[in-house]
Every structure is written in C-alpha cells, then in structure tokens.
C-alpha cells in the first residue's frame, strides 16, 4: 500500500522554513540529475558538489521545521511524503535543466539571490536560522562565483553558446520575481526580526546580475511581468514529475532503509 501524504501544520515559522528547505531540495535534486551527464567530468563534479551543498541546507531546514512543528514529522517525511501542492519552493528552482546554459542561468539567478539572502539572515533573531545562514552563505557565495564565471564564458564565448545563454536568460527571467515577494505570514516574521524582507535585496541582486551579464555580453530582459505561485503550492507541470522520481521509493516501500 503506497504511503499517504502527511499533514503539516503550517504555522508562519514552519511555512517559512519549509519554503527555504524546498528551494534547496528541489534545486539540489535538479543538479543531481546532471550526475554522469555533464559536458565534462570536472563540471559533473562541480554540479554534484553544488547539489550536495543544497541538500545539506535542505536537511538542516527540514529538521528545524520538524522541531518547530513538533508534530512527529521529520526531514524524510517532509521530503518524501508531501504531494506537489504541499511543496512551497520557488517556480524557478523546479524549471527543467534544459541545456547547460539553462542550468547555469537558473543557478546564477538563484545563487545571486541566495548569497544576499543568507548574508542578511545571519542577523536573524532566530539562532537556528542564523546558524544555518552562516553555513549556507559560504556555499552560496561559491555557487555564485562558479556560475558567474560560466555565464561570462557562455555569453562571451561562441555564437552558439551566446545564443543558448541568452535564450536561458530570457526564458528564466519571469521566474526571478518570486524570490523577492513575501506574504502576510512572512511579514509577521520580518517584523520581529526572524525573517528578512527580500524585496530590499532586489536592487543589489540586480546590480550583481547586470554586471555579470554585461561582462558576458548578454542582455537583461525588459519585461517586468513575473510568474508566481510556488510559495503557495501552485506549481508548473514539471514539479510533479520531479517528485514522482524523488519519492517513488518511499511511496512504494514506506520507511524503507538501506
């Protein structure tokens, strides 16, 4: 009998933590899909390393969410036993890998945000979140450096790599707005100094992104219309397929270990 989904009491702090955990898990899983398929062995390792960094962040955040919720859930249950509508990640991180330029552009947009985000979260009044932030910031800083170098080389490389990199930027742009939004439940946490107001991070994010893309001879899209919904469980068709792969073992053999 397949395992049923769990119920989660999404108090503001649980929801807030799950949202960040889901970002890290889903993006980390996307990177793991490259394992054995990257353009060269060196980059295969680099992508897997970034994926493992994100998986580590996800585990800490899920464990903390479980502790705050106090409902008998744990990191595995959050990852394996929630349905697509219960996932709270950004739409950006569930975008399919596409070609290498797509994967790099997605990682670049996210890392440029995550680096600023974790840096700001180091001052969180919540000591656990501040500790997770301190560790995650170093990882994100490296991810940003790695992806920035690739964006420059892809954009300012051959005609083919430039075309692919520009395509990726254009297609993913509309998914970047969600990173800087917050809702009522987050605003309460921002007011008491547990969470940070990510809308305040956007000018610096845009500065980083613009300067790298300029060096890469790539163009920032003009359109300001942004996709949203991931934070509330309204996902693209891609997340369900990802989860079916991620969860199949635990759904089929509940509690299986090896």
């Amino acid at each position: 009998m397949p395992a049923a989904s769990i119920q989660v009491s999404e108090t503001p702090l649980v929801l807030y933590t799950l949202r960040r955990a889901d970002d890290a898990l889903i993006l980390g899983h996307r990177l793991s899909e490259w394992c054995g398929h990257a353009p060269m062995l060196e980059e295969d390792m680099a992508l897997a390393n970034m994926g493992l960094d994100l998986l580590g962040q996800a585990r800490e955040l899920y464990s903390y969410a479980a502790k705050v919720e106090g409902n008998g859930n744990d990191e595995d249950k959050f990852a394996y036993l929630r349905d697509v509508r219960q996932y709270r990640n950004l739409l950006l991180v569930e975008r399919p890998n596409g070609d290498f330029a797509h994967t790099m552009a997605r990682q670049f947009f996210y890392a440029a945000f995550a680096d600023l985000y974790w840096l700001a979260m180091m001052a969180s009044r919540d000591p656990t979140m501040a500790a997770i932030a301190a560790r995650s910031e170093k990882e994100s800083a490296y991810h940003l450096r790695h992806c920035s170098e690739w964006m420059v080389r892809l954009g300012d490389g051959t005609d083919e790599s430039h075309r692919r990199a520009q395509n990726a930027i254009d297609e993913l742009w509309a998914y970047t707005g969600e990173m800087f939004q917050s809702d009522e439940s987050e605003r309460g946490l921002i007011d008491v100094g547990i969470a940070v107001d990510t809308s305040a991070l956007r000018p610096r994010w845009l500065q980083t992104v613009s300067s790298v893309l300029t060096e890469a001879t790539l163009t920032l899209p003009n359109n300001d219309w942004m996709q949203q919904g991931g934070r509330f469980g309204r996902h693209s068709e891609h997340l369900g397929h990802l989860l079916s792969q991620l969860q199949s073992m635990q759904r089929t053999f509940p509690g299986a270990t090896w």
Partner: protein
C-alpha cells in the same frame, strides 16, 4: 566524451599551513580561473586543502625516463652525502 581542445592542468594542494604544496593530479579546464574552481571541486571535497595551485601541464619540463641511469644512478653510490655520519652535540637540541 573526449575534450581534445581543452587544456590540461596539474593541481597542487597545500594541506596545512607550513607544509608544501603537493601534486595531487590533473584536470581539464579552458582557463586558469576555471581550472582553479575545478581543482577545488575535484580535489578538496573532503577538506584536503587550504591552498591550491594550478599549472598548465605544458609548462612543466620533465626528465626523460630513458635518462634514468645517467641522471640518478651516480647519486646512489654516494651515501656520504646523507647527513647521518655526524654526532649531534646535546647542546644543539632537537634538529
């Protein structure tokens, strides 16, 4: 997959302060910056290093293995070059 046009780099890692960089292996990368990042990703995953050098493999001039006799055998018979025939006075302490 072959990567014929991507240059080869030799990687040297220093494990702790005060120790010398040691050769740990090689990798392919298009330029020095990416070589350094690849070295970090491949050779320091288990906390092996505090410093990395990458050197283009073509910059290394190596001795010819077929010259082994001429190059190295003459030294083998000169054990007096090892500083093991001296009594170190106690006052010198640990050397």
């Amino acid at each position: 997959m072959t990567t014929p046009t991507i240059p080869l780099w030799e990687v040297f890692i220093r494990s702790r302060n005060g120790l010398a960089h040691k050769h740990v292996g090689s990798l392919h990368a298009t330029d020095a910056t990416l070589a350094l990042q690849a070295a970090r990703d491949i050779y320091t995953r288990r906390g092996e290093g505090l410093s990395i050098w990458v050197v283009p493999s073509h910059a290394i001039t190596a001795s010819d293995p077929s010259d082994k006799g001429m190059m190295f055998e003459p030294a083998e018979s000169k054990i007096y070059r090892h500083p093991t025939f001296y009594d170190v006075p106690d006052e010198v302490g640990h050397m």
